[in-house]
């Protein structure tokens, strides 16, 4: 395994650190690329209503780590004929205020290993960078298989964000924290993505385990369904990723304005909490 290259923090990390320095908590909404013809409008809605970074899911036919909502969102995008190159072009398309890549909020792509491998690790990472993407998450490439992707993402200047699960053993947490850039993604529970009523009490243990090894921001995702839950887990973490709760609404017909209101409600709840007592 190569040793980490020390370099200046990327756009994702900078954005999350700015929020932390200001005493706040980060909000990273997720949008499935291609879910509707006007899907980039959802990304802009997130950017304009308090997102610190935005995760864009590039659809895959067999999303092993996703629950029913994101499965349906990916399926809907693919049924519309979504193609990876077209989606990236839509992200990077120029035009005043039209392209999500031009909003100034850093973008992170989430997709599965096969999509990356099929396009070639290097070519894929370069295509993301060319589209204005700052970070990459590939949840089914674990530490043991990460090396080619790590090299390709570094060469392209992408922040490769690695995940830690509640079951991850300390020696791996340490290595993941060392190799991750942007932030460390703490998975809230042993399960798949999805909307849940309660956030697992393992969150604090997972987040604290990561913090022993890194000063990178630690964000929690999987099952963050309400502003109240976002506030709850942010007592331990630097912020949250919210995915299924948003895509559930979009699948049900929510407009970009509707989504903006939901994202705002998360932002307001996070901003309205006094974090000085936390941690």
């Amino acid at each position: 395994m190569t040793s980490p290259v020390l370099s200046a923090p990327g756009a994702v990390q900078q954005s999350l650190l700015r929020r932390r320095a200001a005493g706040g908590k980060s909000l990273v909404p997720f949008v499935t690329a291609g879910i509707t013809p006007d899907w980039t409008a959802y990304v802009r809605a997130c950017a304009e209503h308090g997102a610190d970074a935005i995760e864009i899911g590039l659809p895959f036919s067999d999303p092993m780590l996703d629950g029913p909502v994101i499965q349906a969102a990916s399926g809907q995008a693919l049924a519309r004929g979504a193609r990876i190159a077209d989606l990236l072009e839509e992200i990077g398309a120029s035009g005043p205020g039209a392209a999500p890549g031009s909003t100034g909020v850093p973008l992170i792509v989430m997709t599965y290993s096969n999509i990356v491998r099929r396009h070639g690790d290097e070519a894929f990472c370069h295509a993301l960078a060319a589209a204005g993407i700052g970070g990459l998450i590939v949840p089914d490439t674990p530490l043991d298989e990460i090396e080619p992707l790590l090299a390709a993402s570094r060469a392209a200047g992408l922040e490769l964000i690695l995940l830690v699960a509640p079951s991850t053993k300390p020696h791996r947490v340490s290595r993941i924290a060392e190799l991750s850039s942007g932030f460390v993604y703490a998975v809230s529970n042993m399960g798949v993505t999805g909307v849940r009523d309660a956030v697992s009490d393992t969150v604090q243990r997972t987040v604290d385990g990561v913090r022993q090894h890194t000063s990178l921001p630690v964000l929690v995702g999987f099952g963050i369904s309400s502003p109240a839950q976002a506030v709850e887990v942010s007592r331990h973490a630097d912020g949250v990723v919210v995915a299924s709760a948003l895509m559930r609404d979009v699948l049900a017909g929510a407009s970009p304005a509707d989504l903006a209101a939901t994202v705002s409600s998360f932002r307001t709840a996070l901003d309205g909490t006094d974090w000085s007592a936390a941690r």
Partner: protein
Amino acid sequence: MNSSSGPSPAVPAPIEQPGTSTLLTADRSVMTDPGALGRFGGFGGRYVPEALIPACEELEAAYREARADPSFQSELTQTLQVYAGRPTPVTPAARLSQELGINLLLKREDLAHTGSHKINNVIGQALLARRMGKQRLLAETGAGQHGVATATAGALLGLDVTVYMGEVDTQRQQLNVFRMELLGATVVPVTSGSRTLKDACSEALRQWVSQVDEAYYCLGSVMGPHPYPWMVREFQSVIGSEARGQCAGLLRRGVPDVVVACVGGGSNAAGTFAGFVDTSARMVGVEAAGGAAMTDGSPGILHGFYSQVLQDDDGQVREAHSISAGLDYPGVGPEHASLGSSGRVEYTTATDEQVLEAVVLLARSEGILAALESAHALAWIIQAARSGDLAAGSTVLMTLSGRGDKDASQLMGLLA
């Protein structure tokens, strides 16, 4: 990379080496232990979420310990003998041999309990699950054969069984759903994606993530994250090991000229080839023309492993379609990808039409109703004998992986 598992302990190879009459080739590096990272050539690996890594590591450690433990091996052998009907015979197909001008031997996995080779793997994994203290088996199934075998092993050992099956398949294979339920298993229809085997695999992996402490994922073929492709091949290598010894007693040269098996995920083929990989035998894997990952696929990552995958140029996985539900999987075990790329095994295809002809020919000339899956191997043999690809007088061993009773109603419609 750190891992809890070191190099493999020095244990006897699971494949017995029979008498001196066999022709050995120099290369013994193939079909061995794939190491801590589970690599077969460049294929295999462990492409799963971090959440599943400890479970894969725990499984690998438990399997390495069990395979080195004589008491585990002896319980496995004993159970296969007194419960599953092993060893299965090798039957000389006399009348069909005469018609084709070759010497055809059939390794009769159709005579194993539950009617196919699937039981070999499932008994091994269920014994391992019990050894690991797991209370529940999770399994995916396509046509239902692996689900039935898992339900059977669960009943035998007193373990709960939950089988994930694509909703489309539960409708096509209602009889097997009933069989699983009769055996005490819970069958969960999977409604995502194409609602077939590949979606059942994804769902079983998702469920494993959320029940990993108490559940054991009993995977049905030589696929999935390490150690499954290796472990399942070893449990299935009883086919090749027995056949090697049986051929030694039946054939003047000791080994057949050609060894043939059908390939979906590739478990019966891997188990068969493991017995002959170090001989001079030509080895042929036969895929369904409508689901041929080796022939039509390209390198990709699906269900936790890197292998040949049917996919479009954007990386989206395609569905496989053939007459036999058991071969309708868009991937293939990583060791097959390696054996194909090294050239040690030839991979080819048979069409639905050729398969139907093979089923009828075998039934009428030998009194054996083969599963549609297994008939793919015979379909290639028939074409190759007719074309001269198989020289007259060649000795051919074919693994007849399962019986065709399950296909009777489908055949009624197809042959009407």
